[in-house]
Amino acid sequence: MSLLKVSHVTKRFGGLTAVDDLSFDVHEGSIKAVIGPNGAGKSTLFNLLTGFDRADSGAATFLGGDLLGRRPDTVVRRGVARTFQNTQLFEELTAHENVLVGVEPSLRAGFVRSALRIGIRAEERDARERADHILRLLDIERWRDVIAADIPHGVRRSVEIARALATGPQVLLLDEPAAGLNGAETQSLAAALYRIRDHGATIVVVEHDMGLVMEVSEEILVLDRGRKIAEGPPLLIQKDVAVIEAYLGEEVEDDDV
């Protein structure tokens, strides 16, 4: 059953068409990878889906409603969370506090109840426990009370994933989570992705690390210059000519030189 249905989404920046009449589905409980050379429109697609940018045309139906044109915080409340290519952590807050902010959508306490500390004890305690639980899920509870600025690069990505997870999403959009990770870190990220999916979230991940993509994703969407050039299970995509050309450039005929 398709959880998220993207149909005919287009986005132009002046002359350049960043996303060109793109349609695809994301099935519930699956991990879908989106690959393509730089500038293929991957991050732009994420921005359109999460309200950080407005699409020129098309629709993205999620649980019966259209995601496009919504404000970013509304998109999150509906259950679609994301991370960023360059992490947007709260540098002066600890890892635990960063994730705690992520718990925001499920909290009810406003200014008045917080000020008078009436009826928020339970909500606050649950929020803290939830954050600790997610830190453990991502295996980064050791960094609980360290401020983001002092956390090494590899762990920062996991903190941002944890923060996105804390919003209680049904769909998690990860923008190049493996960028800058070494072999071991990538392996533990793969394990974490499985745990997240088993935790009940559907994942769409933009990634260049083919090893990781082939290993975790059930379906791969390949983009080039904003257009879908291939979609299907990893084995099929691997052999697809169009994909190879997109990445490696056309075959050079001898006489062209």
């Binding site: 991050s43 921005n47 950080f52 940018d53 960023f84």
Partner: protein
């Protein structure tokens, strides 16, 4: 309202407009290369006047005193950038603004301690009665003001367009990281921009002193109006800042003509807020989108 009288209002508007334009150029220069608004720009305007008076009273001839005033103020601008801003150069805009606010407080109060509270003036550059031109009287000092504004904007445009240093400044305004990758010493660019902005502010300050006198507390109003002009035209673009200054001066003068003078100051504030709320990039500038 006769046409001569209307023209007189326009001349009056362009006279104060030229003052706002010169201060606005200082804002544009610093914003161009550092992306921040220098809240101490108004104090550079004040220092231009006060220091020139100080040198003049030492006995230097007017031109030398003016030059010394501009150079000393430029020195203050360089020192301020080097000592206060440089250490936190990569901090966010908020931190840099606070440093310039602190700087303006110190410069203003220190001037009162050193040069005393009373106002002072300078003789006109070319003394003599105002020039009659089609029923309109134009003060000679106003001609100096317009001349200096034109020279300043041409020089700045030439610097930006034609010189290597100008290109380095424009690179910095787009992105310090990229500029550094190109081997541009961004620290030097920022420092020189501050020196130049201080000199421009000082130039405006001393050119207006024969008309309106100078004192330790003239910086605040000039700074606020200069910023309103810069933002009205479009921050970062020298020609736009001058247009912003002239338009603001005209609006004020016409508001006295058609409304009443109590609204004269409020006009600059209202313009500032309207532009900020509706079109922060100003009449001419391009919007700078923050990429996610």
């Amino acid at each position: 309202m006769g046409s001569a009288e209307l023209l007189q209002y326009v001349v009056a508007g362009f006279k104060s407009g030229a003052i706002y334009a010169l201060v606005a150029l200082g804002f544009t220069l610093v914003y161009g290369s550092t992306g921040i608004i220098n809240f101490a720009q108004g104090e550079f305007f004040m220092l231009g006047g006060v220091l020139s008076v100080f040198y003049y009273r030492l006995g230097l001839p007017l031109l030398l005193a003016a030059l010394a005033g501009v150079v000393t103020t430029a020195g203050v601008g360089l020192a301020f950038e080097r000592l206060a801003l440089r250490p936190r150069r990569d901090a966010g805009a908020l931190v840099l603004i606070i440093i310039t606010i602190g700087g303006s407080m110190v410069m203003k109060s220190l001037t009162r301690h050193i040069f005393g509270p009373d106002e002072a003036t300078l003789p006109e550059f070319t003394p003599g009665p105002s020039i009659a031109f089609g029923g309109v009287a134009i003060e000679r000092q106003a001609l100096w003001l317009w001349g200096l504004t034109i020279v300043a904007v041409l020089a700045l445009t030439w610097l930006y367009r034609k010189t290597r240093f100008g290109r380095a400044m424009r690179a910095c305004s787009l992105s310090h990281d990229a500029a550094r990758l190109m081997g541009i010493d961004t620290a030097r660019v920022v420092m020189v921009s501050f020196g130049l902005a201080a000199a421009l502010g000082a130039l405006a300050g001393l050119a207006v002193t024969p008309l309106t006198q100078t004192a330790w507390d003239v910086g605040a109003t000039a700074g606020m109006k200069g910023f309103a002009a810069a933002i009205l035209g479009g921050l970062g673009n020298p020609v736009a800042s001058v247009i912003g200054g002239l338009v603001l001066g005209l609006l004020e003068s016409l508001s006295v003509a058609f409304l009443s003078s109590t609204y004269k100051d409020a006009i600059a504030l209202i313009v500032l807020l309207i532009v900020l709320f509706l079109r922060p990039q100003g009449l001419i500038g391009r919007a700078r989108r923050e990429k996610v």
